[in-house]
């Protein structure tokens, strides 16, 4: 994802960023500057429009309810591959035209795929919104899938996998953690897919996926910015209503059974420092406990005064970075996970013990009222800051819709956050953060393989 700057966080991004970004949206207050206006077109497409007149810009986002959770064994990464292929052109707009038109009009476009959704966006001047809408409407139905384009894009995606996972020790550990924590549910495999599956995908696979999931009744259109709702709705209706309703995708059948006993694994590879992750299976937004889990996450890891930072980084100095993540807006129950980047010279075992101690401390004694209030204040402030960016504002709405929570849940969520007590936090810590419910993965650095060439060779060429 695109929003984290420092080198350090960049590398954690694969595990933390994607979810911290998304997590951060999840906690909101009703103090929306402008309420979204919701419309449902006759073909079933949901439209959410928010007028934000502060700058002459807007974001257009189309969210499809399809991600790696909708894939089957042997085709992991199909949703993500389709996302790439969505830029390869239609009968009306040939390959490359989409992005070029957007750029020519001063806009930028991109897309992202997760376990639960695939989303496409254009950020541009608000008087160019119609162009983005027309292009999105066009590729909702008219995508051309071409063999040679797939052959090239397959190589691009494999380079992406090398970059994110093969050559990134922490990325590799995250992938392994999900594979261990989920045995039958599709959260088992990575969004980008395995090499073998990427190689095996065919045009037919892509076409079937496209036909099944890319339909107006499986999509949410979100526009946030300096727009006029009434006239824009008219445009949207004209562009999108002619697209016929598609089949209703079948709900996924395979759920993950309860975990009965700790799972533990090591990943040994070339790396500089050890990295520890622990994932606990927890409920999503559908559970009453999600509010307290959310506050629990905040108390543990939001800000430098949070418990994990103060204990592991500040006092014990055993970790270079530490955190927890709870993503409430997931379609299926996800992981409440912890991570710690182990300081040089420190043992991963003692860092893991320190994490356990902090969990036990919360299970033994409730957090203080001060900590609780801080967490609630952080949630409320974060929500206001979120709206500073049209893009993030739209993402929150799109994600809430795509995982099945609905955007109204966002407001309810904050109301319920306010009611969380210190006892609730202790209760959910006791209920979910248990040994039998966890998967622990540790990255163990091993010395690099002996190179055939000297480790650093400098040469001078011709002037």
């Amino acid at each position: 994802m695109t929003w984290l700057y420092s080198q350090h966080i960049m590398r954690l991004s694969w595990l933390a960023a994607a979810s911290s970004l998304i997590c951060a949206f999840a906690f909101t207050s009703p103090a929306l500057a402008t309420e979204p206006r919701e419309f449902i077109l006759s073909n079933g497409m949901k439209v959410l429009l928010v007028e934000v007149p502060k700058a002459p810009v807007a974001t257009v986002q189309v969210w499809y309810k399809v991600g790696s959770r909708n894939e089957v064994m042997g085709r992991a990464g199909l949703s993500h591959m389709l996302e790439h292929m969505m830029f390869k052109g239609t009968a009306k707009y040939s390959k490359g035209t989409f992005s070029r038109l957007i750029r020519k009009n001063g806009g930028t476009d991109n897309a992202f795929t997760s376990q639960d959704f695939t989303a496409y966006f254009e950020n541009l001047a608000s008087d160019r919104v119609e162009l983005a809408l027309e292009l999105e409407a066009d590729r909702m139905q008219g995508l051309l899938l071409d063999m040679s384009e797939l052959a090239t894009e397959r190589e691009v995606v494999k380079e992406e996998r090398r970059l994110r996972t093969e050559d990134d020790p922490q990325g590799a550990l995250v992938e392994a953690l999900f594979a261990q924590a989920y045995l039958s549910h599709p959260y088992h495999w990575p969004v980008i897919g395995w090499f073998g599956d990427i190689d095996a995908m065919t045009l037919d696979d892509l076409q079937r996926h496209y036909d099944t999931y890319y339909s107006p009744n499986n999509a949410t259109l979100v526009v946030v910015g300096d727009i006029k709702t009434d006239s824009l709705l008219h445009t949207i209706t004209q562009l999108f209503e002619p697209i016929p309703r598609g089949p209703e995708p079948k709900p996924i059948a395979t759920m993950e059974p309860e975990q009965k006993g700790e799972r533990r694994f090591l990943l040994k590879r070339d790396a500089q420092v050890p990295f520890v992750m622990m994932g606990y299976r927890v409920p999503n937004f559908t559970s009453e406990d999600s509010y307290a889990l959310d506050i629990l996450d905040s108390i543990l890891s939001h800000g430098k005064s949070s418990r994990l930072y103060q204990s592991l980084v500040y006092e014990q100095k055993s970790a270079l970075a530490v955190g927890s993540e709870y993503s409430v807006l997931q379609a299926d129950p996800g992981l409440f996970y912890f991570y710690a980047l182990v300081s040089p010279g420190q043992k991963p075992e003692s860092v893991e013990d320190a994490l356990h101690r902090e969990i036990k401390r919360l299970q033994g004694d409730s957090p203080t009222e001060q900590e609780l209030q801080r967490a609630k204040n952080q949630v409320e402030a974060a929500h206001v800051f979120e709206q500073d960016s049209n893009f993030r504002h739209a993402m929150l709405l799109g994600q809430a819709e795509s995982v099945g929570a609905g955007w109204r849940k966002i407001d309810q969520f904050v109301e319920r956050i306010r009611a969380v007590t210190t006892k609730d936090i202790q209760r959910v810590a006791r209920q979910y953060l248990t040994e039998d419910n966890r998967t622990v993965g540790t990255l163990i650095p091993i010395p690099p393989k002996q190179p055939e060439a000297p480790s650093t060779a400098a040469q001078q060429g011709e002037p």
Partner: protein
């Protein structure tokens, strides 16, 4: 929740360039005449702080952003990392607040307080809700004027930075840029990583930290941008109340020696057990205030900064499938910065990718760009301004940098003219002048035995 994006992520080390470039296009944006009024009020306080205030009342947010005109370019030669260490200690205790108290106060109001050094400047900022603006300014003013530099925090942060350095070596891109900067900025302070090296960091003493702070942190060195839901009157009062007692410092001497161009092609190969080669290729660039900056911006957009519209992306990714991402950069700084192209490709295609990169550099020098390429580049640069301008934090950063580079606020009127007057001939002229397909620095990190780099 793991998320995978179609397009590569570009680390934002070069915010100065992108933001400034972006800033200006609004005035011509689509000829729509809807240009935002970017009219900050500027004044200089009695003790010499340059204050910029811009009212934005849509959301109850205030960003208070201080830019201090010092950075790693002012580090003493053997003590690279000093400016960064000083900045890292600003939120680790003041004379009246411990590190933990600073954290507790800002966290309790759900705000953010941070400090970061870069080569030419250091920033310290507070981001708070309107109702907490007094506390936000208080905490920021305190950390800028009264850092305690406790011995134990100094040691702790140094150890932390050393650990992060070790961990950074898991990132091939980081390793490659570190090596590239050593080659391109030989003999100049820009060659060091902002956070220094293990060797230089270990040489820094607490006395060095205190001396650097005493010398470099003075009101006359500070640009303070305040943006958001606050009135000019409130902002003025807050600045006076919280920064008014900061004593003027003596004039500081500046390291302004420009880096010298590299003399010949230089290749550095770094072995690492990886499936991809990380490639960085480039040489010296130009400063932000150079008159050719705008022509270079247009040229670079066409070459490799224009996302999927760029020649490099089209050739290396879309046609050959060699990389997930590829980009060209001109990092225009106070002193001439660098130009580079970076990508990752599987080990086996290392030479093919380098050949492709060199061929695009040659091509944009040898042949004029097409009318369409030029028109599309300009139209993006002019039209995309408001996108970069859509949050209080971005606005505060950009205002401070416009002031730092001495561009003046008339720049907002003038920028479209500067972009618009760039011709095909200009593009080819600056391509020939600022790109060199023979005299470059090349760094490859990866499995060298298999990559068999032939450059």
């Amino acid at each position: 929740m793991p998320t995978t994006s179609r397009r590569p992520i570009t680390p934002r080390r070069h915010a100065a360039l992108t933001l400034l470039m972006a800033f200006c296009a609004l005035l011509l944006a689509n000829g729509s005449g809807t240009a935002a009024e970017i009219a900050p009020t500027k004044f200089v306080s009695a003790n010499g702080i340059t204050v910029l205030v811009l009212e934005q009342h849509f959301l109850p947010i205030v960003e208070i952003h201080a830019l201090i005109k010092t950075g790693s370019a002012q580090d003493p030669p053997s003590k690279a990392g000093l400016a960064n260490l000083v900045a890292s200690l600003l939120d680790e205790g003041t004379t009246t607040r411990t590190s933990k108290q600073q954290a507790e106060q800002i966290d309790f109001i759900g705000g953010a307080l941070e400090a970061n050094a870069s080569e030419d400047f250091t920033t310290a900022s507070a981001r708070v809700l309107k109702k907490d603006v007094d506390l936000g300014v208080t905490l920021l003013a305190d950390m800028l004027q009264h850092p305690a530099f406790h011995k134990q925090e100094f040691e702790r942060i140094r150890t932390q930075l050393l650990g992060e350095m070790a961990s950074d070596n898991d990132d091939p891109g980081h390793i490659a840029m570190k090596a590239f900067n050593q080659l391109v900025f030989h003999g100049h302070p820009y060659r060091w990583p902002v956070n220094g090296t293990a060797e230089t960091l270990n040489k820094i003493t607490l006395a060095d930290v205190q001396a650097f702070y005493g010398r470099e942190y003075a009101p006359s060195q500070v640009i303070l941008a305040i943006v958001g839901d606050i009135t000019l009157e409130q902002a003025t009062t807050l600045v006076q109340a919280h920064f008014g007692a900061w004593k003027k410092g003596a004039a500081t001497t500046r390291n302004t020696k420009n880096p010298s161009p590299i003399e010949r092609k230089t290749v550095q190969l770094i072995e690492k057990d990886l499936t991809q080669s990380t490639i960085v290729l480039g040489h010296e660039g130009l400063s932000r205030t150079h008159p050719d900056y705008y022509s270079v911006t247009v040229m670079n957009y066409i070459l490799g900064a224009g996302g999927f519209s760029s020649r490099l992306m089209d050739s290396i990714r879309d046609k050959q499938g060699l990389a997930y991402g590829i980009m060209s950069h001109f990092d225009a700084r106070l002193m001439p910065g660098s130009f580079w192209i970076n990508l990752q490709t599987k080990t086996e295609t290392t030479n093919q990718a380098i050949a492709g990169v060199l061929s695009e550099i040659k091509s944009i020098r040898d042949t004029p760009v097409s009318d369409q390429e030029l028109a599309e580049a300009k139209s993006f640069l002019l039209g995309s301004f408001p996108l970069r301008f859509d949050s209080t934090a971005k606005l505060a950063h950009v205002l401070a940098q416009v002031e730092l580079y001495g561009l003046g606020f008339e720049y907002f009127q003038d920028y479209p003219k500067w972009i618009d007057r760039v011709t095909k001939e200009d593009v080819q002229r600056v391509a020939k002048q600022y790109l060199d397909p023979k005299r470059y620095a090349l760094v490859v990190v990866g499995d060298l035995a298999k990559a068999k780099v032939k450059y």
